[in-house]
């Protein structure tokens, strides 16, 4: 029996559970002996000209080794002039500054554009000394008017990049001006939906240590991709061969640790510039103000169709707040446009986007990255449409789903959906939740006028994973003389369970037991070529690469076995249960992996491959959320959350469920509690975990997960990505549930997060509206 599909608990865990992981700040490498601590001096105002920096008082403090600013960076080559990307450019593999007029310096030069932007770096013998000294670096600012919101940005009164002449960094998508597509439709609904700015909030913030020795820079950094980080670090004027990047244990990434940020580049530069090893671990204040954040889109939508529920036209107009610098945030809304129509076969779809800069932390990838925004809005829009047509939201969804037999299906926005069975996933969820009974219970509470009302939220979603399938992923497998194997993967683990999953793939193909398979990732000296982990790509690309490498190793081993047996290769077989090689029909004579690895005159038994996909895959699913809302206080309690998330055949249910659980929680967090806020002057209001409402165990129920497995033929494992699906499905399911609980009170929409204050206000405004209308009659 194959090990694939079975519940295998993680090989990573015993170390993490008894000794703790080795994250950047835990490293005790000899190269880091005597390292100085880096503390950043960060902008305290959102938008200002720097008129002077005086470090003299700081330099007199005990333990201060150096205070460095942009003026000290004369040993870095000027960046090549960057071309502005085309409006319809595909999302970049790497979140890099756009350069040119919008360029983002490493340390602020003459202007600061968000509170938290790094201005200077202080190097000290100890952390506490660094905090003291950084306080004493005096930065003089000539304050400029802050652009603290999308509305501020669009007014173009205060401009972040004067050379650009506008705060609009990118426009793209398809024409949204043709209103005739809505002509003659029975039901047309229009409205605004906010997809608020949230924090990625990995529990380990950003952290980097660097040492310069004998002409080589070694950088240990908390990243999702050591190899991409190395590429970015070549901007210091070093060749790739002069840089080694190591990703040790990484305490969560969620998209915000793709590559390295400017702060980490500065730390690496400081090590080279001073010749001293340097280490930096950010505080949570730095993490919540200066790490890239997610979402931050405002949508205007229009949806229309027939009275019997057929949706005929959908328009989505997006404004993306990309924060102070248009990094990946400049491209995310193109993904939102691509995924705009979701799971529905809509004849007319229009979607466009405008990207603006604001005096806030830059926006980049966060679990879902452009797709959750699309799903959240189409799923609200369908509920609006159903309500206006007087139909059940389930019926409207089923009526408009792309049908199973329509796949492969290319949407009106150009997304090539591979496979799907949307109705089956929804049916599973409805059956598990007992939808009819829930609606009956809801009716009862409404009739009784209960204080605590019930809301049922549905979301049916599809998303795009391995969007950059053609970039592929690398894998090398060495089988050693003792019969053990080592896998070198270009993919990068930070909690997903790569080591367990990839060892399972090797065991399945080669019959080498899991405890004899070591998986190595995240070291560019060992694995110079790799892409890393983001966009739910690891199993389908990285796993497929491991699978392919295992097949190649097996083929080479078969040749060696044939030679040792003096038999034909075709007659040699591997017994995967025992890991022993035989001649077919003669089980008594056998060779072990060790014997085969030892053959061929010391030549290593190895395969080194790259797997590339032709196209992305499109996992899908349905989720149902059951919420109870206290109509007197506005407090929302999630009672149940039922999901069928389909990413194809399941390699290891333990890991799959873990990805879904975490994803659902982050999705629910956006719907219920989380939001990054700035005041009108651009001062962050959520800069500590005492202010930012990170979701906790008390706010969530246990989740009810159902199995649904629709494979794809786009990779040999038949799998799609599952890392972000839970998040994408959960946000609209939870938001829809909250609003559904209030529908009979006249509430049509509550923007996220659906805090007690927002819910209470929505209820009371609806009551006021109703009273006014009654008076008017």
């Amino acid at each position: 029996m194959s090990i694939l599909g079975t519940r295998v608990i993680r090989t990573e865990d015993p170390r993490l559970l008894t000794a703790g992981g080795v994250y950047v700040d835990d490293l005790r490498e000899p190269e880091l002996a005597g390292a100085v601590r880096a503390t950043f001096v960060r902008a305290t105002v959102a938008h200002a000209k720097i008129t002077g920096i005086d470090a003299s008082a700081a330099l007199e403090q005990p333990g201060v080794v150096a205070v460095l600013t942009a003026a000290d960076m004369t040993d870095i080559p000027a960046p090549p002039p960057a071309e502005e990307p085309a409006a319809d450019a595909p999302p970049p593999e790497v979140p890099m500054p756009m350069g040119g007029k919008w360029s983002e310096p490493l340390l602020a030069t003459d202007t600061v554009r968000f509170v938290g932007e790094p201005v200077a770096i202080v190097l000290t013998d100890s952390t506490y000394q660094g905090e003291d000294a950084a306080e004493l670096v005096s930065v003089d600012y000539d304050v400029l008017p802050a652009v603290a919101s999308i509305d501020d940005a669009l007014r173009d009164e205060s401009i972040l990049f004067p050379a650009a002449g506008t705060n609009v960094a990118v426009r793209g998508g398809r024409d949204t001006s043709d209103d005739s597509v809505f002509d003659g439709l029975d039901v047309v609904v229009e409205g605004d939906i906010v997809n608020q700015r949230v924090a990625a909030l990995p529990m380990e913030g950003r952290a980097t240590a660097a040492a310069w020795r004998d002409g080589k820079l070694t950088v240990w950094t908390s990243t999702q991709n050591a190899q991409i980080s190395r590429l970015i670090l070549t901007s210091l004027g070093l060749s790739p061969e002069q840089i080694r990047v190591v990703a040790p244990d990484v305490g969560g990434g969620f998209g915000a640790k793709i590559g390295v940020d400017r702060d980490s580049i500065v730390v690496a530069w400081a090590a080279r510039h001073t010749g001293r090893p340097v280490r930096w671990t950010e505080t949570r204040y730095e993490n919540l103000t200066a790490m890239t954040q997610g979402r931050a889109q405002v949508h205007h939508i229009k949806i229309g169709g027939t009275r019997d529920g057929h949706i005929r036209a959908y328009r989505l107009e997006i404004v993306q707040d990309t924060g102070a610098y248009p990094r990946m945030g400049g491209f995310l809304p193109s993904l939102t446009c691509l995924m705009a129509p979701g799971v529905y076969d809509i004849p007319h779809v229009q979607a466009d986007y405008t990207v603006v800069v604001t005096n806030a932390a830059p926006i980049a990838a966060y679990r879902g990255a452009g797709r959750p925004e699309a799903a959240a809005t189409i799923e609200r829009a369908v509920d609006w449409f159903a309500a206006a047509a007087g139909l059940d939201p389930v019926d409207v969804r089923k009526l408009n789903f792309i049908k199973k037999e329509q796949f492969p299906f290319v949407t009106k926005t150009g997304a090539p959906y591979d496979t799907g069975d949307y109705e089956a996933a929804l049916d599973k969820v409805l059956a598990q939740a007992d939808y009819a009974r829930l609606r009956a219970e809801q009716r009862k509470r409404r009739e009784h006028g209960d204080v605590r009302q019930l809301g049922i939220g549905i979301s049916s979603y599809v998303e795009i994973t391995a969007a950059d399938a053609t970039a592929g992923e690398t894998a090398r497998i060495d089988v050693h003389d003792d019969g053990t194997a080592t896998v070198y993967t270009g993919s990068s683990a930070h909690g997903q369970g790569h080591h367990t999953a990839f060892a399972m793939l090797v065991t399945d193909e080669l019959g080498i037991p899991m405890d004899k398979v070591e998986v190595v990732h995240g070291d560019t000296d060992l694995i110079p070529d790799g892409v890393g982990t983001y966009g739910s790509r690891s199993l389908q690309l990285g796993g497929s690469a491991v699978h392919k490498a295992a097949i190649e190793v097996k083929d080479e081993a078969a040749k060696r076995a044939a030679s040792l047996f003096e038999a034909r290769k075709a007659d040699v077989v591997l017994d995967k249960a025992t890991g022993a090689w035989h001649i077919a029909g003669d089980p008594d004579k056998s060779l072990t992996w060790a014997q085969i690895a030892n053959a061929a005159d010391g030549k290593t038994l190895t395969a080194n491959v790259r797997f590339t996909g032709d196209r992305p895959t499109f996992p899908f699913g349905s989720q149902l959320s059951l919420a109870e809302v206290d109509t007197e206080t506005g407090k929302v309690t999630l009672l149940r959350h039922v999901t069928a998330d389909d990413a194809g055949p399941v390699l290891n249910p333990v890991l799959l469920e873990g990805q879904r659980h975490g994803g659902i929680a982050q999705g629910a967090a956006q719907a219920l509690v989380e939001e990054i806020l700035y005041d009108p002057d651009g001062n962050p209001l959520t800069s500590t975990l005492a202010d930012y409402g990170a979701i906790t165990a008390t706010e969530l129920p246990s989740f009810e997960l159902l199995t649904s497995e629709t494979g794809t033929d786009l990779n040999p494992l038949g799998v799609k990505g599952i890392g972000e699906a839970g998040t994408i499905g959960a946000t609209p399911a939870v938001q829809n549930a909250v609003i559904d609980a209030l529908a009979h009170l006249g509430v049509r929409h509550v923007d996220m997060p659906t805090t007690p204050e927002r819910v209470w206000t929505a209820i009371n405004e609806a009551a006021l509206r109703a009273a006014r209308e009654a008076n008017a009659k």
Partner: protein, 158 residues
């Protein structure tokens, strides 16, 4: 100032600045790096350790406050033979961890929780973990691990 305390059953003495936090004493002076720092506001619980058997967040306890007292960290939880504590074992069995960063604090918080309430309900566990943030697991399997550790501990007659 000089602080003397017992860490994971061993005497430990260090000369530290008055303002030194317990978590920095543990990580930097005692070189016990399992205990992580996740915030500076006593919000996330990554730095949870046991002080005289009770869970505290070591990022807001001064090393001086631990003088003369007994501290247990994740490294001190397994038996002398290396056998995992029931809570550690339950985390492994139930996939109660992913990136592992919140895990030392979570495990210590649950050890403390189960000492106070050996037979908690799911709601008790969720309430008890309100001060510990995990960003990976959605808490689902952490809650299951806590409940399964409680059951296993009872079953073993401990």
């Amino acid at each position: 100032m000089k602080v003397e305390l017992t860490v994971n059953g061993k005497e430990f003495t260090a000369d530290v600045e008055d303002r030194t936090l317990l978590v920095h004493l543990l990580r930097d002076a005692a070189n016990l790096t399992a205990t992580n720092i996740g915030c500076e506001t006593t919000s996330c619980g990554a730095c949870t350790v046991l002080l005289d058997g009770e869970s505290v967040k070591s990022c807001t306890v001064l090393a001086a406050q631990a003088d003369g007292r007994e501290v247990t960290t994740l490294e001190g939880l397994a038996g002398d033979d290396g056998e995992m504590h029931p809570v550690q074992r339950a985390f492994h069995q139930e996939h109660g961890l992913q990136c592992g960063y919140c895990t030392p604090g979570m495990v210590m918080a649950i050890v403390s929780l189960l000492q106070e309430n050996p037979s908690p309900s799911e709601a008790d566990v969720r309430q008890g973990l309100e001060g510990n943030i995990c960003r990976c697991t959605g808490y689902h399997n952490i809650v299951r691990a806590a409940l399964s550790a409680a059951a296993a501990t009872k079953g073993a007659g401990k």
